[in-house]
Amino acid sequence: MAVFTSIQTGSWHSAATWDQGAIPNLNVDDVVVAPGHEVTFGAGQYASLSPGRLILVVAGGTLRIQGALEAYNSEIHIFGTLTSEGDYLYVWGSAELTVYPGAALTVTSGFYLAYSATASIQGQMTIESGALADLFNYPALTLEVGGTIQTYGTCYIEWNSQAVIRDDFSIEDGGTVSLFDFPVVTIESSGAVFVYGTINVAWDARCEVFGYLGVASAGLLSVTSTGLINVYKDIRLGGRLTGGGKIVMLRREGRILDFNENSVFVLDRAYGHSKALAA
């Protein structure tokens, strides 16, 4: 058991990259990628970070995962840059992934958060075009104040997943976020979801909107089947809205606005029994 710290840029699987003069064994070793070093976990390689083990990427350091890395009941701390660009990064069990302020997690291939694992995004997370981020089976993702998530690819939040949005989450043109099969996504009062692409809320998915949810003119909000959006304040609908699910306005003061803050509907003053009038 040892802590392996990078001493230069290079391959994960080269002994010359590490201060221990050997290749780390993630069953028994911890790994630190030091500032100024770019360590590449090569294509075709696979490793499992065992329970209680830890990977730390220090500010200014970069870890590029071109193979497959799996973290089970373990910890990944990112102060620098982590890129999942080969097969996948799979975080599961009681594992924790933390992207600290100023750090970046970029997914160009696959990212999975599963089986009650947690992710705290305090820096920048980017899901690139063609990439997949998949949350399933009771994981929890929190976008903290100061953090941002941008998706140009595909994001599934499914099967009892939870996501809490406390800052800016943008679904860019070409990006899709789909909620289905019992997930709960909460946009807290400090949070904002900007939809320039597509968001699907379907099949027993629930979205609680205390903060900002805005669909731009090119965006699509699809609420189908038993999907439900509870709006506690306002919602901005500048794009398309489809589906047979429900959007429930929970407060008389709530407004349905376009993306430029103009009212789309004006509600009658009669509390709880009003007809909606087109503005």
């Binding site: 058991m1 500032p35 329970p51 209680g52 799996e70 009941n73 373990s74 102060f79 009892n160 099969d181």
Partner: protein, 115 residues
């Protein structure tokens, strides 16, 4: 161990200094707190997942990961088809490369289950 970088908060340095057993216990305590916040039904279902995963031998974890990806996809498609979606419509959305991969998997599943 001295601090590696002044940008690393002390609590993360502390994580590095803790033993794997301590870290595992910390993670388990946090997970338990999340479970405690669930409804009894949710907690029972989540705990069942956890128990099942914890029982997997280390050497089988890579296979379990792939099995979990396969299962969640199959469960989702089954739920949609049970809800009235036509499976042919699903398959029609695949391009040639994706169709070849699905066909390969279907053939392998059939072969693996054939005595």
């Amino acid at each position: 161990m001295p601090p590696l970088n002044p940008d690393i908060p002390p609590e993360v340095q502390d994580r590095l200094n803790r033993t794997p057993v301590q870290r595992k216990a910390d993670l388990e305590a946090k997970r338990q707190a999340r479970l405690d916040a669930m409804t009894p039904e949710e907690r029972a279902a989540a705990q069942a997942h956890i128990d099942r995963v914890d029982a997997i031998p280390d050497e089988k974890r890579p296979a379990f990961v792939q099995g979990a990806r396969l299962a969640v996809t199959a469960k989702t498609i089954k739920a949609r088809v049970d809800g009235g979606m036509d499976l042919r419509d699903v398959l029609d959305q695949l391009d040639a490369e994706e169709t070849a991969a699905v066909d390969w998997l279907a053939d392998q599943v059939t072969a693996a289950r054939t005595p």
